[in-house]
Symmetry: C2
């Protein structure tokens, strides 16, 4: 096995596959990336058993300057290899496997020898050939993942809540996540979809996927089996296991009525909450307080830490309708939700200070909702 390749273009692809490689693992071989060199090109595979990423570097891609002298397969310890290639002196480097699994990297006058592992010891990737197939634009996928994945649970006590629940049927697509303190939901109208789908993708998989798709503009194919989902885009295949079990019914958690609503620019509110949380973070219970006073058409955000001091701020509202309100909540949940909205105008709807409140874009309340459960402070 021997090839020469453009160093920087190789690194970019290699680092994408590296996303799947665990820094710590009980399965030693998974700290490696598998190289499969055929006449068609170089395939790189990385996996942490939950996520697997496979990327093809085709010989036809001129930017790669891929020159194949002899084909073969090997596994290379991934992170260390990445450090070496990053520091090699020339534009290209040559990768050669000797008989005893020794790999020689040559670039200019620099020559590294590292020890490889037998490619046959690498685990097989899941089979998803007979799966149903869907297709979305990368832009649409990012718009589903980023605003929902923030609400997945970080706790393993209820594993199903560590994922985002996807429901696809004649009504369209629903993506929802909740850690039982907050909930995030996106809806999409999908006129051309046939069949019913109901699956839960781990939040960690979606976060990595969204990072890989950050600059991708084309369509992404989805294949779904009972326990795996495969995203295909460009020369890359991204596998994730699905979470087992039934996702709880979240529809009844979202309040349908409200007695107090305010409208405000999301980024303005974010700046106010960030200031208030400076003090809540200094106190034991990390809570900020929102007081709505319709008689004076004003709302105030405040927080207080007995040891340090307090903060109080009048919010710059676009509108205020309904009853007086005095409610307390974890500001970090509100910050996450507001960051996902960007700088749209949003509507916050409240009932009592013990019931969850919702945030929706003022212009599109149907398709996007963030919900936060208040904290009882009395």
């Amino acid at each position: 096995m021997k090839f020469t390749i453009d160093r920087l273009n190789f690194i970019r692809q290699f680092n994408n596959v590296l996303r799947a490689v665990p820094s710590k693992t009980a399965i030693q071989i998974l700290t490696g990336i598998k190289f499969d060199l055929t006449e068609a090109g170089l395939k790189l595979t990385g996996s942490d058993a939950d996520i697997s990423i496979e990327t093809m570097l085709p010989v036809t891609d001129e930017a790669l300057k891929l020159q194949i002298e002899s084909t073969g397969s090997i596994i290379i310890t991934a992170r260390f290899f990445s450090e070496i290639v990053k520091k090699l002196p020339e534009e290209t480097f040559t990768f050669e496997v000797k008989d005893n699994l020794q790999v020689t990297l040559t670039s200019g006058k620099s020559e590294f020898t590292v020890i490889g592992f037998d490619a046959n010891s690498y685990p097989h990737l899941p089979e998803v050939s007979d799966a149903s197939q869907l297709e979305f634009s990368a832009d649409l996928l990012r718009g589903l993942i980023n605003p929902t994945v923030l609400a997945v649970s970080a706790q393993e006590s209820r594993p199903i809540l560590t994922g985002v629940h996807f429901l696809i049927n004649a009504d369209g697509l629903l993506a929802v996540a909740t850690d039982s303190h907050r909930l995030a939901q996106r809806k999409l109208d999908l006129p051309n979809v046939e069949g019913n789908y109901d699956f839960v993708i781990p939040g960690k998989s979606l976060t990595e996927l969204a990072r890989m798709l950050a600059d991708y503009q084309d369509d992404v194919q989805l294949k779904i089996t009972d326990n795996q989902v495969l995203f295909t885009f460009g020369q890359t295949q991204f596998y994730s296991r699905l979470l087992e079990g039934n996702y709880p019914d979240t529809t009844r958690l979202i309040p349908t009525d409200s007695t107090t609503t305010i409208q405000i620019d999301a980024s303005t509110l974010l700046a106010s909450v960030e200031r208030a949380s400076l003090l809540s973070h200094e106190s034991r219970n990390n809570v900020v307080r929102l007081q709505v006073n319709p008689a004076e058409n004003m709302a105030t955000l405040s927080s207080n830490s007995p040891d340090v001091g307090n903060v109080e701020e009048e919010l710059s509202l676009s509108s205020l309708v309904g009853n007086e309100l005095d409610i307390s909540f974890n500001p970090d949940y509100l910050k996450d939700a507001l960051r996902a909205f960007g700088s749209t105008e949003i509507k916050l709807s409240f009932t009592t200070n013990l019931r969850p409140f919702t945030l929706v874009p003022s212009e599109d309340a149907e398709h996007y909702i963030q919900l936060i459960t208040p904290v009882r402070t009395f």
Copy 2:
């Protein structure tokens, strides 16, 4: 005490004083910064007992937009205050001390209250009024500090070695630091200096000073007493304690003869050593090996980690003179030294593989020297 000030210009000055403020300290009051507001302006003072920084924000500086309503003094918990001011909404903010040491910060609709401390509880800064005075350009000071401070000892077992030794007399200025594994020395001709000076400034003080001077172009005044040095530049006074004790005589450590010399571009050699150290860092003894072969006019750098692999690289020399050599050393010392040289051509001079070797700029061997002790590997 009440004033209004431009927020961003205030933060810049405040953060400079914050350099002296320890994140952890047994003396609680030192986590604060002292505010002294007089008709002349606002003076900020921070200190960790070793370093003290005092900066004046004069009422005459128009960029500060400083408006003084009433004078006074107070101490404010520094890091938390910095976080608050960073996040305030408007261009300016108002700082007001109430009777009970409560401080109110107002900016737009946002109002913070934090608890201050009595200014009288702040320690007094050292007296340096009767000291001898010297003057250097900031550029010259940076050129003295940056290449020497890298060689100070990190170990407290010999405290005097944690500082840089300055010797000023009719011969000029000598700055030298050594941790007993390596040594860095700068010499300057100072035609106009009177008197003799011999003092040791802690490395940590010099590092902070160099950071503060990074963009400063004018002259810096130095005042030296028995146990303190005071640097004055612009509106800032930077105090550091001096280290007590006699600095060891380092002159006899520097070899005067050599049997092998090579010349090479410092940045080229740095890149090679960085590659070699990838492997030395994976092995127990962190050593790279340099082999010089005059017969073939070549030098090779190599390193080897039994578990991971090895690296070998021929160096791109400008010249090679002298005997064959096979020497091993800690690559991190060489990297530090080479970074300080930048991209000049340098000369490395060796005697045997057990004696220290030196690096000097090829163009100016007199004024600048880095010395590294080899590691015995056999």
